[in-house]
């Protein structure tokens, strides 16, 4: 046991019954639950320190500004960034990726310039590039996914040839696959391209050292890492941020405005137009403290162990009836398990599980191109986090048996 035994008690939402059954929350890849300390930190911010930041000279405004900038410093430290100035707060990972596509992309990509994605990307790392394709005629290239759920890198040099950017998820939100980011970054750089990573499923689960990963840009999202909704992060190397044109325009991001034009503020504020989400930043900072107290290495170890247990349990009990997507080796993946149960439609599987208090997601998981490659319209997905344990997995396994009561024919 690498995480504290009573950890579930930290999460008030988990202490609920649905349809007479204790809730078993297995949808953390979608959004995570929040420990009470995070909920309290936000409430406390609004009860004691709320003010607009960077604007007031009074005591309360200084407290609010410190709250925001303190959270930024925590984020920087958590991912081992060089400086808080490299941390841009956005409303979610999706906005962060759009910021990258709009700002860096507008300034650096021209017609026929290639951006390389993978077939296992979330829509957040696809649609912004489609939009640039439509506007500027950039070319999208796709790293294929092989049958084992890994990226097929056999053609990578060819794909990277002349490319400007490689943008790939660090961990698939459907297959659980951990991608070889360090290698990909190296090869991107060798080919003269920059490297962006969608770390939405990575930062919450794996100790993250951005210097070691070697990427140039990284996006992730607070609500998947025990923090509230409404806050995301773009990290980028300071020199890249310095050169990028602004994204949204308004207060905070300016140095001066006249009727004729404007000049921009320094990084990171240049990219944060309008009043920022200070309460959410405080929540994110507190979530980072909580995760740091657990120890990210322990978090990862816990999830590897639990994923191994889940893969084993489900396979032992259901054999060929259950097909689990993605890598079979727990060390190569995160605790995201997409599966098919016989030929019962994932929506029906999720429905039956819901009646047992088990929350899983059925659908395309915002990764339709991957679903097309897998030749599936949807899967059922169970995903694990710090508060899950073997008993949750057992309950999932038990509940699957009741599907046959309804759908066996």
């Amino acid at each position: 046991m690498t995480l504290p035994a009573g950890i579930k008690d930290d999460f008030p939402l988990l202490d609920q019954k649905f349809c007479g059954h204790q809730l078993v929350y297995l949808d953390s890849a979608n959004t995570s639950q929040k420990p009470q300390v995070v909920i309290d930190a936000m409430a406390n911010y609004y009860q004691t320190s709320n003010a607009n930041v960077h604007r007031g000279s009074y005591e309360l405004a200084v407290k609010a500004t410190d709250a925001l900038e303190g959270a930024r410093a925590k984020v920087a430290q958590f991912i081992n960034a060089d400086s808080p100035a490299e941390i841009v707060f956005t409303k979610n990972a999706t906005e962060a990726m759009n910021l990258l596509a709009r700002s860096w992309g507008q300034a650096n990509l021209n017609a026929n310039d290639a951006v390389v994605l993978s077939e296992m990307e979330h829509h957040a790392n696809i649609v912004p590039w489609h939009m640039l394709h439509a506007e500027k005629g950039i070319e999208l290239r796709w790293i294929p996914v092989d049958k084992s759920g890994h990226l097929d890198l056999s053609n990578l040099d060819c794909l990277l040839d002349g490319a400007k950017l490689l943008s790939v998820t660090a961990m698939s939100n459907v297959l659980g696959t951990l991608n070889p980011i360090t290698e990909l970054a190296k090869r991107a750089h060798q080919a003269g391209a920059l490297m962006a990573i969608d770390a939405s499923q990575y930062v919450p689960h794996v100790p993250t050292d951005i210097a070691a990963l070697g990427a140039d840009f990284m996006v992730f999202t607070g609500h998947k890492m025990l923090a509230p909704m409404g806050i995301g992060v773009l990290w980028a190397r300071a020199n890249l941020l310095e050169e990028m044109p602004p994204f949204l325009g308004g207060g905070e991001m300016i140095l001066n405005v006249t009727k004729e034009g404007f000049t921009t503020n320094e990084i990171p504020w240049k990219f944060e137009a309008g009043t920022p989400m200070v309460g959410e930043a405080v929540g994110l900072g507190r979530a980072i403290d909580y995760l740091t107290d657990l120890g990210m290495a322990n978090v990862r170890q816990h999830e590897v162990g639990l994923t191994a247990y889940a893969l084993r349990t489900l396979t032992e009990r259901y054999g060929d009836k259950i097909t689990i997507q993605g890598p079979t080796e727990p060390a190569e993946r995160g605790g995201v398990m997409s599966f098919l149960y016989g030929d019962v439609h994932p929506h029906d599987v999720a429905q039956v599980l819901d009646q047992k208090g088990i929350a899983v997601r059925a659908g395309h998981h915002c990764a339709k191109p991957l679903m097309d490659v897998l030749n599936l319209s949807s899967t059922t997905r169970a995903s694990l986090y710090v508060y899950n344990n073997e008993s949750d997995v057992d309950k999932l396994a038990d509940a699957l048996a009741t599907i046959d009561d309804i759908f066996s024919f």
Partner: protein, 164 residues
Amino acid sequence: MVGLEDLYREIILDHYRSPRNRGELAVPPARRVEGFNPLCGDEIILYVHVDDNNVIEDVAIGGQGCSISQSSASMMSVAIKGKTLEEARKLIIAFKGLMSIHETTIGGDGRESDIGIELDGSADNVKLGDLEALRGVVKFPIRIKCATLSWNTLAQALVEPTVA
């Protein structure tokens, strides 16, 4: 407490297991319309052949999806076959009425388009027959879209100009 038996009624499962009117029709004389629920990837391909007297002479259903969307499509095909366009429209209205609770408040990926038919009282005494079994779906708001997918597709097929 709402139980699964409200959703998965025997007759629904029967239509899911043994879908009626499955297949394709020649186009023309039939029309072919596709419906799509992006939330769960459910898909229906509906063929309707309306004869010169405005009677639905034949129906066929293709596509794939969950038990609710498949059985709803199957039951719909039985209910409208041999009916006049006028009667089919009333059925749509009556069925959408049955499902109307909640539908517009769910939203997000996959809210269906407005079907362009007024939900007035004119279909009040339409007999839904077996389709009544789908009534339990409204207790599972997220599944309403599954049940209405085929019906919205039908509505689309009936408002489209006749294919020559």
